[in-house]
């Protein structure tokens, strides 16, 4: 199939449009984009796939066979793709200019500034693996590297993503647990009410609530993403998708367990600016996010991390900035902050 083939262009336009639309779907857009890719591939599988052609049911062999089937119908050259096993993961590399989906990836990823990092090719592998192996789910990640290659990775995942929102009749669920949506105005009035009745507990309630929710989120992520930085990046992406603000990892030191994170358009800063400040003087107010980040980092580094909001958008800064460091080792007296390892 020629690069200039209008069919390729139209297919890329279609995926770009889908990607654009899914980017506007709250919470689970990336998940639904994957499902759209997998669903469309399933039609191809139903028509052209034959299980008897498989020599083995190893994921790498399934994907190679799939590429060969695609070559047989004239869609691609299987030799353009390099596949190899790495533990229970599958690694793929392809020269970017050899991939038929490059226009979609480049334009949605770079030019249009969308947040999707889906690789459609990896999505097709997810589809065939699911078809052959059953309900196995694979997580994907891809890096469009400066050397002109795309490096993709598929790894097994048994946990639902925290952000996935589904509806069953009048019941909304998030990651399988019942949830409901709260308007910012309602949240602001709830906080104002706590402040009026028990002002001394407000910061503690927000921090502790954040810490507890961060713990469960981080533990799930840690099971699927054992590498600390990768796990943190996933958590920041998920928190961004949940609407807390756009989180950016500024610096990460594994050896010092020192992390700097920025949050643009923090929900809490925006709530203060929109519905009034909770405190007498301008001050940092994102205690809930501070708690979430402290819990996430404590799980990731497997030691107690304390996180401080150094500047806040509610005080006129461009963004909120958090600095996280380990609890000093000499600390022994007093009431220690919650230690996630004790649970």
């Amino acid at each position: 199939m020629k690069d200039s083939d209008i069919t390729i262009k139209l297919m890329n336009y279609m995926f770009m449009s889908m990607s654009n639309t899914m980017n506007q779907v709250p919470f689970s857009g990336q998940h639904w984009m994957e499902q759209l890719v997998i669903g469309s591939v399933q039609y191809f599988i139903d028509e052209y796939w034959d299980d008897s052609k498989l020599d083995s049911k190893k994921p790498v062999e399934i994907c190679r066979t799939y590429l060969n089937v695609m070559e047989d119908v004239g869609f691609l050259y299987a030799k353009d793709y390099r596949l190899e096993e790495s533990g229970d993961s599958l690694l793929m590399s392809v020269k970017t200019n050899k991939c038929v989906y490059r226009e979609c990836c480049q334009r949605t990823g770079e030019k249009e500034g969308l947040s999707f990092k889906n690789c459609i090719r990896l999505g097709t592998f997810q589809a065939i693996l699911r078809h052959v192996l059953g309900e196995n789910n694979y997580l994907t990640s891809v890096d469009m590297a400066a050397d002109g290659f795309c490096y993709g990775k598929l790894r097994p995942n048994t946990q639902p993503k925290e952000e996935i929102v589904t509806r069953e009749g009048h019941i909304i669920k998030m990651a399988g647990h019942r949830a409901f949506l709260l308007r910012q105005k309602t949240y602001a009035s709830l906080m104002a009410s706590i402040r009026d009745h028990a002002p001394q507990i407000l910061k503690h309630v927000l921090y502790d609530a954040g810490y507890q929710s961060g713990l469960s989120l981080a533990r799930k992520a840690r099971e699927s993403y054992p590498y600390p930085k990768e796990c943190l990046q996933l958590l920041l992406d998920e928190l961004t998708n949940l609407g807390v603000g756009k989180l950016e990892l500024v610096s990460f030191s594994l050896s010092c367990a020192r992390v700097k994170i920025r949050c643009y358009d923090s929900f809490w800063a925006d709530t203060a600016n929109e519905y009034g400040h909770l405190y007498r003087t301008p001050q940092v107010i994102c205690d809930m996010l501070r708690g979430i980040l402290a819990a996430c980092l404590s799980v990731i580094f497997e030691k107690e991390i304390i996180c401080e909001e150094m500047v806040c958008q509610s005080m006129g800064a461009d963004c909120c900035e958090f600095l996280a460091l380990p609890l000093p080792q000499e600390s022994s007296g007093g009431r220690k902050p919650h230690d996630p390892r004790n649970e």
Binding site: Y207, R280, V284, I306, M310, M315, A324, P328, S331
Partner: protein
């Protein structure tokens, strides 16, 4: 214009205009009544508001305040690393690992020089200073020397816009010295135990000295290991 607060809800509610930077607070109280807890609240509030906070530890090593703040989930390492929280060790003359150490507790001039140096090195636009407790530095010194030191120091702090909290332990200094000194401060906060021996009640009076009279409001309070100082809401009695 920025206004400051103690960070104690029941107390701040009574300060309609708050505290201005450049003013000085005298905290005088019984041992164990909660002066250092109040200092911790004052520092916590300052750090949240973007202030640079300097804590002079005279009665215990600085680590005690670090641990106190950590127990209230204040990550001191982050603030110390960025220069927003500075400790001066005026407790351990020898063997201290702190960056700033008062080498000789007997010389007020040395203290004044060190305090001025540290305050000059603070980068932020607003600075809070807590000396816990200043009375320890002033024991066994000539009353005239102490008053001269106070006048010079407080004038300097006012001029440089430092919001200062000086803590005095009741009974350490001569009552006459405390009376004279109290005239130099903008706010006076007296913390004491009242009630019976079996059932002591903590009480604080906040006010100012005007025309030789201490005009204050009185509030009962407790010290919570989770929330710090909790002022009873409706027990204010205006004298």
């Amino acid at each position: 214009m920025h206004r400051a607060y103690f960070g104690v809800e029941g107390l701040d509610r009574n300060l309609e205009q708050g505290l201005s930077y450049g003013s000085q607070i005298m905290v005088e109280g019984d041992s164990g009544v909660g002066k250092t807890v109040l200092a911790g609240e004052f520092i916590k509030e300052g750090l949240r508001c973007g202030d640079t906070c300097v804590y002079v530890a005279c009665d215990e090593p600085p680590t005690v305040m670090r641990e106190h703040l950590l127990s209230f989930k204040v990550g001191t390492p982050a603030y110390e690393e960025t220069g927003r929280l500075v400790f001066i060790d005026a407790y351990e003359e020898d063997g201290s690992t702190e960056k700033y150490v008062l080498s000789d507790l007997r010389h007020l001039e040395k203290y004044f020089t060190l305090e001025s140096e540290v305050l000059r090195s603070c980068n932020g636009p607003r600075v809070r200073l807590v000396v816990d407790s200043l009375s320890t530095l002033l024991t066994n010194l000539e009353i005239t020397d102490v008053i001269d030191f106070h006048r010079t120091r407080l004038k300097q702090l006012k001029k440089t816009g430092i919001l200062a909290m000086d803590i005095f332990v009741s009974g350490v200094l001569e009552p006459r010295l405390i009376t004279i000194t109290s005239h130099l401060y903008n706010f006076i906060l007296k913390m004491s135990f009242n009630g019976s021996r079996c059932n002591p009640v903590r009480q604080m009076q906040i006010g100012k000295v005007k025309s030789q009279q201490f005009t204050s409001s009185t509030h009962a309070f407790t010290v919570s290991p989770i929330y710090g100082i909790l002022v009873a809401a409706d027990t204010g009695v205006h004298k």
